[in-house]
């Protein structure tokens, strides 16, 4: 019954996102423009360096990585912070709290429908195009399985980070700044805007100790890594699992204690 409840939310989310045909088209076009920008940007970077291989990545490696990163972004980003902030400001949070379901789960499953539609409408087409155009740059083997497991965990980590940040809105009652800051930080530290291979050594070490690289860098390196040894893949997945658990506990605890604050002081 619990599962039925969740899948029902997924189903409604799919129907809901299909209602907005135009917005899907705009996302598609926006994404295309972004890809054109990064193509020329990185072309310029490689040209000015005068080398074929920079930081162990060729131009096409980098481009494949960034194209897929942006496809993943469109697919797993669910604007949780935005949604929570709006509910807090408008006072609609009260109604959400009065659902017979924990809010953190309720919100996640409400968004899950968007994953499904975005997966089929943005990620999958991009992936297929990249696979065909690059002709062999993406291997078809166990790495696909690793990638699927990894991306599910990436979604969970990303959601819980978002939820944690969204909870901060309870205190600040403003959304915009926090949302932008979170977006920039997460995208940078996760390796979505610039591949982590390009980071300076010390910075790279720090980034590997943070949860963010598990969102973009981990699934992409599992997907694109050529002949990655099983042990390395397992380590990556293990680290992701660890962050899944840690972020779930953290966001849950923070939410619980914040909620206590609201019920005492009013919202």
């Amino acid at each position: 019954m619990n599962l039925k409840r969740r899948l029902s939310l997924t189903r409604a989310g799919i129907i809901e996102s299909l209602q907005f045909r135009l917005s899907m088209l705009i996302i598609f076009v926006g994404n295309l423009l972004y890809l054109i920008v990064i193509y020329f940007l990185w072309k310029a970077i490689y040209a000015s360096s005068g080398q074929e291989v920079v930081n162990g990545m060729t131009f096409s490696d980098t481009l494949i990585y960034l194209v897929l990163a942006s496809a993943i972004f469109n697919f797993i980003e669910m604007y949780t912070v935005w949604e929570m902030g709006r509910a807090i400001q408008s006072g609609n949070m009260v109604l959400n709290l009065l659902k017979p379901m924990e809010y953190r789960k309720y919100l996640f499953w409400s968004f899950s429908g968007t994953f499904v539609t975005q997966f089929f409408f943005t990620f999958l087409p991009t992936f297929i195009i990249v696979a065909i155009v690059t002709n062999g740059a993406i291997q078809f083997g166990f790495n696909l399985l690793y990638f699927v497991i990894s991306i599910v965990m990436a979604i969970v980590i990303n959601y819980n980070i978002d939820f944690f940040v969204g909870t901060i809105c309870l205190y600040t009652e403003s959304i915009w700044g926090i949302n932008i800051m979170k977006q920039v930080l997460v995208l940078l530290l996760s390796g979505a805007t610039v591949p982590i291979a390009f980071f300076p050594e010390t910075f790279k070490k720090i980034v590997y100790c943070l949860p963010f690289q598990s969102i973009y860098n981990a699934p992409l390196s599992l997907l694109l890594g050529k002949d990655m040894p099983v042990s390395e893949a397992m380590t990556t997945l293990g680290i992701q699992l660890l962050w899944c658990v840690v972020m779930m506990i953290l966001s849950r605890l923070f939410w619980k204690s914040s909620l206590k604050q609201i019920t005492v002081n009013g919202g």
Partner: protein
């Protein structure tokens, strides 16, 4: 009858930052620790039985919504005890939520972009309503209001009236034991209001649902509530039957007269003549609220007639609205 809500000596205090004026003040406020305590609800007690419709009244800012939020478990009382369906709501919010329904006027719990029927299906799964119960309820809805035309319409395309109606239907869908309606008829036209009143009445009769209704519309109260609770500035002023309230003010009659000349000016003159009573005027009538314990209506009429010609007159029982207004202004002694 079994008790569903029990409230004992409940108070709720909020800590509010003392805001200062102007730009300089606003900057100072950033670092201020100057809080004041505001008592939103002050020592309220009541017991509500299964199947009652209780009108919960009070002027704006009286603490009505705060009380409701405490009953639903969104707020924790500062002191006192609340038991709803045998549970302490704020400790069992999620569990409690399954057995209550809420409508906060002007806010919607429905899925904005989805047709109403999809929202209902979703609620069916979220609340774990069985197929039989769901069908039962939908059939009942169908027999009460014509829901077919709105069922397949996305909520965002609905009129305010249709949306409120939908929200009320959604709140009753899982057949909760208690439904809280916070100003459900706000901003609706007369026919929609009466439709919604009939619906609430029928649901209460058929399913024996307890309804707690806050409203500023005395029409709602007259049509639905047998019992009313009035609070103001967080304090409980009144908790009893409507009948009792009317008896209490039974000695009051409203005498309406129409005289020659400008009514507003005449009303002022009459007001001076009958200084012990409240005299008001609108475009058609001069109304005098007469307390028959002090003077008989016929007496007052006689006095009025001596000075001027009365063209028309009416005698009215005091309306609920007037009673409530008197309580807000003077309290119950």
């Amino acid at each position: 009858m079994s008790t569903v809500i029990e409230i004992k000596n409940v108070s709720k205090e909020f800590k509010v930052l003392n805001r200062r004026e102007g730009l300089k003040g606003s900057i100072k406020d950033l670092f201020s620790r100057d809080y004041k305590i505001v008592k939103a609800v002050d020592d309220i007690s009541m017991t509500i039985d299964q199947g009652e419709i209780v009108g919960y009244l009070g002027p704006n800012g009286a603490g009505k919504s705060t009380t409701i939020k405490m009953m639903t478990g969104v707020l924790e009382p500062s002191s006192g005890e609340i038991i709803v369906n045998g549970r302490v709501p704020y400790k069992n919010r999620t569990l409690n939520a399954a057995e209550i329904g809420v409508v906060f006027g002007q806010r919607s719990q429905l899925w904005w972009a989805l047709p109403l029927i999809e929202s209902f299906k979703l609620l069916k799964d979220i609340y774990g309503i069985s197929d039989a119960d769901y069908k039962n309820m939908m059939d009942f809805y169908q027999s009460q209001v014509d829901i077919e035309p709105i069922l397949h319409k996305p909520v965002r395309q609905m009129s305010l009236g249709q949306r409120t109606l939908s929200d009320i239907l959604a709140a009753f869908l899982h057949n909760p034991r208690i439904v809280f309606l916070d100003e459900p008829t706000i901003g609706l036209d007369v026919s929609m209001k009466s439709k919604i009143r009939t619906l609430i009445h029928a649901l209460n009769k058929e399913k024996n649902t307890t309804v707690i209704l806050t409203t500023h519309d005395m029409g709602d109260v007259d049509a639905l509530c047998r019992r009313i609770v009035i609070i103001d500035k967080g304090k409980m002023l009144y908790d009893n039957d409507m009948e009792h309230l009317k008896n209490f003010f039974g000695s009051y009659r409203t005498l309406k007269v129409r005289v020659k000349g400008d009514l507003k000016a005449e009303a002022e003159v009459i007001g001076k003549e009958l200084s012990e009573f409240q005299v008001t005027a609108d475009d058609e009538w001069i109304s005098i609220l007469v307390d028959e314990d002090k003077r008989k209506v016929i007496d007052v009429l006689g006095q009025l007639q001596q000075a001027r010609q009365i063209r028309d007159m009416q005698l009215e029982e005091i309306s609920t609205e007037d009673v409530i207004k008197k309580i807000y202004e003077e309290g119950v002694q």
